[in-house]
Symmetry: D2
Subunit: 303 residues, 4 copies
């Protein structure tokens, strides 16, 4: 149980960082979360699963869900996805309209909001009941502890004017084909997925395993596609802090404003952390530190 000791040690060590960030407060459902939560879970390809702290408490995974939807879209239409969304870091805030205007409605990558809306639009072409099927997809990744928080969906809808602006702007450029409201409904459901650290670490294992879900053997993506999702996570997974995360942590990963971060070490493991206080880039303060210490202590990074 070598990871257990490391995880426990790190869990204790990063407590001093509480108070250094701010809980997301743009919707009431997130603002009400206890700031002092910290959960960690590691799930290895050879079946080890270690955890610490609030690792079984569900939280709003928010943007982490963009990885699930990208995988689902790639599974259905393959590389066609990248005709409508790029794979380049944006160099701009996650909800910026500037670059979208300059680049005529083609989002830089699938992990900024505009890109996730395009992915949702693609899914609407192929899914009869998108919200049910998105959730079912996560279930197939061996995470059954997953559900929508409808209060988050409603909150997001009530104040999601920038996303509505993004959607309408891309529709003006022909890069949203469905009704903007329908796309937003799918997008907000996706954002409102609740999972625990344990669930997240488990469900991301296929990306550490060449696209195959360990245990069930279900192939979600080809090995090449899995690598590519990892590449996009590494270059674009942390808003405007992706370079810094690569620099300090050196793993492909994805964060959400709910305070969750999940990362993978290809061929080895997936690790999920949750702590709600965010830095100014929207990434979990303790979460990033946990991952930095984890790669330092284990000597594992992709570099």
């Amino acid at each position: 149980m070598k990871y257990q000791a490391i995880i426990d040690e790190i869990h204790a060590e990063v407590q001093y960082l509480f108070g250094r960030g701010n809980v997301a407060d743009y919707i009431p459902a997130l603002a009400g979360v206890d700031a002092r939560k910290l959960g960690i879970a590691v799930h290895t390809l050879d079946g080890e699963c270690v955890e610490a702290g609030d690792s079984r408490e569900r939280f709003s995974i928010q943007s982490i869900s963009k990885v699930f939807n990208l995988a689902l879209a790639m599974r259905i239409v393959g590389d066609e996805v990248f005709g409508r969304v790029g794979v380049e870091p944006s160099g701009n805030p996650f909800n910026s309209l500037v670059q979208l205007e300059q680049e005529k409605g083609i989002p830089r990558n699938p992990f900024i909001n505009a890109g996730a809306l395009v992915i949702a639009d693609i899914l609407l072409d192929h899914l009869d009941r998108p919200n049910e099927e998105m959730l079912a997809f996560v279930g197939k990744l061996r995470c059954d502890d997953v559900r929508y928080d409808e209060s988050v969906v409603e909150s997001e809808k009530a104040c999601g004017f920038v996303n509505k602006a993004l959607g309408n702007f891309m529709k003006a450029h022909g890069n949203i084909t469905h009704d903007v409201e329908a796309v937003l409904d799918a997008y907000y459901h996706q954002c409102a997925i609740e999972m625990s650290c344990v669930g997240l670490a488990t469900s991301f294992l296929f990306l550490a395993n060449g696209g195959v879900v360990p245990g069930t053997g279900m192939r979600v993506l080809t090995a090449s596609q899995a690598k590519r999702v990892n590449a996009i996570m590494l270059t674009c997974g942390f808003y405007d802090e992706a370079g810094s995360f690569a620099y300090h942590v050196g793993l492909p990963g994805k964060s959400g404003v709910g305070g969750g971060i999940v990362a993978v070490i290809p061929g080895l493991l997936a690790i999920a952390v949750w702590s709600p206080e965010l830095n100014r880039y929207g990434n979990s303060v303790l979460g990033i530190k946990v991952l930095e210490l984890f790669t330092t202590r284990t000597g594992k990074s992709v570099f």
Copy 2:
């Protein structure tokens, strides 16, 4: 009848420019207009009214209506208007989101789309039946030949995704207080006003007359406010071609993508031109030439 001769001469002289521009085609209702129309009307403060060509045919005045709504809003709330919208030229296309993002939802001026949406939002605070009252306001300017083209309203709504994006983006910044759909409804009605050159020249006379409607003596704006509307027309009235219009024509004025342009010579007259072919900035090719020749031949400009 000195202006009659000048107008007739110019009407004949600019015909060679037909074919140099393109009729606005972003909505079917505009695309169907006969490109070869040219109407001119001059209405002086001392009551002379001369006209040439298609001067009594109604056309979609589009953005010219932004002047009416600005005047109406200033009449109701005075300079308060400029707490929510600036008076600076934008240096960007009329429907750009970039500057709006950089300047946190405060549009540069009331004549870009975002600014006109804010003006509409202000009017919704004070008008019980905004669409009826906006039309009635134009009527009080002694133009009774005015109506909405509901097919234009419907067309604009059906494809107005960029405006919807602008409205939602400003709502995210708190600079739209009403429901975005309600604001857009007022805005699209305003854009869909149909008037003739004669009607336009008449209804703009108050801006050449210190804010007072000639004939009825109704004070629409204070003298100072009328000057300020003229100042904003001169610096911001022609999309990203305002400087060029000031340079070549030298009059405060406003254009619309329906091919109309109206301008005033303070203390003297108002002139309206209509010709549907637009240059790349969205301004009427023949319209600008007519005005340039008019100021050159008469020696009248504000400079």
Copy 3:
């Protein structure tokens, strides 16, 4: 002496504004100026010349000189000037590189720094001893009280890295043909011209007089060119505050970071004000107020 009474009244009235702005401090030569200076001079076409306060003290006219150089360039090469520089307001700070990059090295107008460098480059094509000839040109406008402050030239050179950046960037785009250092030398000399309010009001009279210097009858520009210079001053003469100046004052004019402002009422007069404290846009706080009161009290504006 009607203007004398108005000027005296305004001179007294605006004193309360001292302390509301900041003296330009980017070069030592400007930072050392007494903040409490206020000079006003009005020179009418019929020969009246009234003044108040520090109206005969020379100050660094800085960007006001851009009008002289534009006039000189138009006098030599005519409208050709506008093949290399636009006439549109920039909507950006006066020394911005952003727009210049987007527009491939063509400055928006001749009154932003980049535009003035292009004008200087044009002058270098035609003047054998540019610095002497620029000064001689101002002399021909009946201002003999003019000279360079070489300490300002040296200061500007020593810290003019942004201007050097602008010059090199335009040279990369082929819009500067001479050596960048030579262009900057001419530009910094131009900026370092010292004049008094009386001198400025006198030397701008040709722009109120259809291009002809009153008294000598020398034609500097055609009537059309003079109008166009006025148009550019109105739309672009006050950095990113041009619209506001048009709105509040309503006259073509030009300001400089030395605290000077000069404006013209076509057909009537030129007025110059100097007070070193600047607002955040780089325009004289008291200067703008003096002009606003002057147009309000006299009822004169172009609108």
Copy 4:
């Protein structure tokens, strides 16, 4: 000799791509290069060195040298480097001024031109004879086949107006402390380094080896620093195509407009390719394909 077979196969296979790109022509010294060159070299940590084609011909490594200088600066001042330059992808062209203006003279990362100028400025603080010492540093990486092409230095200087603009702009913001000309001299020498594929693969091995030069055992960087350089290469090493390179190739690497690309597989090997025809992002067309095939055939990528 498994890599030999793969390299030979790929060398033959990519020939069909000749003619799909353009040789850099902004300076004569590069424009004159034979477009049909293709060299490949792989150097493994266990000493294997395989090569194909023009692998021993020296070419201008251009921006690849930015990795050497970053390593040298980190070796001297450590993480202090990142107080003056970021580690985020820029999302903009390599020589853009826009972002630099928005971010007040702090370049996004050390691999865009502005960032490399800051690195050169740092080196000038610590190196007595910078040009000699930069070359000596590469020599210590066990590449003795290295020299400056002075004709490239002269060409770059003669037309390097954008770099001069960048340098002056950062000096205006205080992020260049030395004379801009001195910084540019060091920068242009660095860009003008000539090496072969064999030399490049060898000299990059320390980045695959935790910061230690294989063979000599010289520690260039700490293991953590070596990982970080790799991270920056992965997120920022290919101009505005870094995400795509991560997506298609999945290795940390760096390209230059001379047509060279070098990449490392941590713990395993370094690979260098040279072919002068560039795609629209400034990266070698054949070079990228060679690397994509190499990672596909060997199954090696960091993801």
